[in-house]
Amino acid sequence: MFLPSEKSGEVDLQKTYDAIIVGSGAGGGMAAHVLTSHGLQVLLLEAGRKLNINQELKSMQWPYDHPRRGDLPPDSHALSRNEYTIRKPPYAQGTSYRHVYSYILDGSGPDYAKDIVVDEKDHPYTGTEYAWVRARCLGGKTNIWGRLALRLSDYDFKAASRDGYGEDWPISYADIAPYYDKVDLYLGISGHQENLPYLPDSLFQRAVRLTTAEVQLRASLAKMGRVLTPYRAGVTTDGLKHNKYRSRCYGRGACDRRVGGCDIHAAFDSPTGLIFPALDTGNLTLRTNATVHEVTVDKNTGKASGVSFIDTGSGKIYSAKGRTVLLAASTLESARLMLLSTSTVYPNGIGNSSGHVGHNFCEHLMGPGVHGLVKELVGKPRTLDDGRPGAFYLARFRNLAERQSKFIRGYGFEGDSGTTMFPDNAFSTPGFGAEYKKNVRDYAGAFIGMGGFGEVLARYENYVDLDPQAKDRWGIPVLRFHYRFGDNEKKMAEDMADSAREMFEQAGIEILEVNREILTEGYSIHELGTSRMGADPKKSVVNQFQQCHEVKNLLVVDGSTHVSASCQNPTWTIMALCWRSCDHLADELKKGNV
């Protein structure tokens, strides 16, 4: 495995960088790539450590070669689904465990990702129930993301014009399409062309294949005018000649047996996909263990002058100077940072004269779904069904031509079928003994299931602010949540469950379980919207190029700027928007406009 040839230089605190980027996930990595490729001198600050991700993930280790079969050490605890419903944040409070992690580690193989996600004990938050998953390390959540890489369309960008709710985006699909193309080509994406106006195709590499059950469901859905397509994965299946850090996908399987992550980096992650190549340009300085707690301001010009950061290990405070500052700390952390950055010039926080920072917070609704059995597959010889980075995606079908339901907007489904390394049906199969054992074996490959991802409406009343008392391990005020699903989400969830059942029934799949319960807010890990873009400085935080209306040299380039959540997973859109904004920024810097 290659490592970056250019060792990152020490951060020079005297120098004024062309750009300081806060956060190294999808947005921060993309900003580093684009700005360094324009020849700009860039400082990238990451709050967490630089991990040797290959050693962390050990993607091909067999469970029996791990002392606890992949489980966490005994003094560590992952929050269960139930804990989020019976308790309030901060969730690590009052526990005897030494380390507490979010629900994402409450699955198989959590030990491999425990260094990637944050310890809830160090990173508390308060307010309403919220399952907040955070990764603090180089690359952030891209190290373990679910890899579903979808485009938005004008059904999303112009949704407000279509149904009268909320705000349109200040861009249309035509503005961002060339940048989606750039992301596709630079990072690689696997998928099958479907020509859907509401779910535009990418420039796809080789698609994954479907199982027997999925072929059956696809054919049945086609009769209903709905589309099940091979998982559109942000994974290079044919390889990338321009990137020496990433291998193509070898369908090794068991991609889903752990939190995620890919130690050959066929799945996109920000370090190998974006940051290491950016380091190779010689234009990037990387500083990890740098927790930025303030964007500093030049009081004469009102512009951002740089950032203050705390060394995560020593606790010492440093400042760095930049001509521009780009926030990519994640939708919630970027909002927190802007609210923390108060000054005489910006008493409500930098970029927040509209009062919208932290508001219009939205994400995806999860929980409802269906689990079924394809009887014809029971007892069939074992096949390899998980040798692929994902199984299938079922595209949105509600409220496309006209409003068809009791709710507005739409949802899609992510699903999976067939054999996995661990037979999950072992837990649900009743009894014991030889018949039990045979049942587990015979049925293991015959299940198919899917769960919905629906658009949560952006509402001003859903927001985060700073808790007046609570602080994190470094003494920084923490976020307080004021966030609840509303009536539209509840109606949508009911329809998700009903339609999931109907689609399985139509396909002749025996229904085993219809899940109607909505998961706690935050489960989607798709938080969006806290600094939405728009043309009107009174109703939005950034313009279409993600520049703060009142601080043109401060950009927000993560999920914060989504105007609406859509029902598509956001990573690809975050990166396409960021690329577009950074191209614009480089141009403006050359012209001396920033």
Binding site: M60, W62, P63, Y64, P67, R68, R69, G70, P74, D75, S96, Y97, H192, R206, A207, V208, R209, L210, T211, T212, E214, V215, R218, T229, P230, T237, Y250, G251, R252, G253, A254, R382, T383, L384, D385, D386, G387, R388, T419, M421, F422, P423, A426, F427, P430, G431, F432, G433, A434, E435, Y436, K437, K438, R441, A444
Partner: protein, 172 residues
């Protein structure tokens, strides 16, 4: 009730292999948490839950009891260890009540009948024995299906290997 489970039923759930199993299978292992007698009980119970059959070896060969013992030895919450100790005592108490002897001294068919009574009401367990069955079964499943035998012989898992092409049906 356990006595009402007839022999045909026993053979159906346990098959011949489990009935033929001998108490004290794993005398050679030195447990870290369990007493030797407790360890033997767990080993026997696990083998009754996932027995060897013509397709693959069972929980005993997959060292399920050894794995459960190792995890309990390092358990962070003392309640977890207490639950297992109390659960095994409940099994012995039940055996004494029904058959007048401890579990390990009971006849193979009686041990199987006893486990069957513990497995009743699996979704809504009522007695201490039935509650313990849930924990015992879950631990056995976890240990067995993550073992070499469980993954390769029993489930014949084909993944975790390098492929040149994805397996399955191409979408046209």
């Amino acid at each position: 009730m356990a006595q009402e489970i007839n022999r045909r039923e026993l053979i159906r759930i346990g098959a011949g292999a489990a009935l033929a199993s001998q108490a004290g299978l794993a005398a050679s292992v030195r447990p870290r948490f369990f007493t030797p007698a407790e360890f033997t009980m767990v080993d026997d119970l696990a083998e009754l839950i996932i027995p060897a059959d013509s397709h693959s070896p069972g929980a005993h060969a997959a060292n399920v009891a050894e794995y459960i013992d190792a995890r309990l030895a390092e358990a962070f919450e003392p309640q977890q260890q207490e639950r297992w100790r109390a659960g095994l005592q409940a099994v012995d108490a039940l055996s004494n009540k029904l058959y007048g002897r401890a579990f390990l001294e009971a006849r193979p068919e009686d041990r199987l009948a006893l486990l069957a009574s513990m497995a009743e009401n699996e979704k809504h367990p009522k007695t201490p024995g039935q509650v313990f069955f849930g924990e015992l079964k879950a631990a056995t499943i976890h240990a067995y299906y993550t073992s070499k035998i469980g993954i390769h012989q029993e489930m014949e898992y084909k993944g975790n290997t390098l492929l040149q092409e994805f397996v399955g049906y191409e979408v046209k």
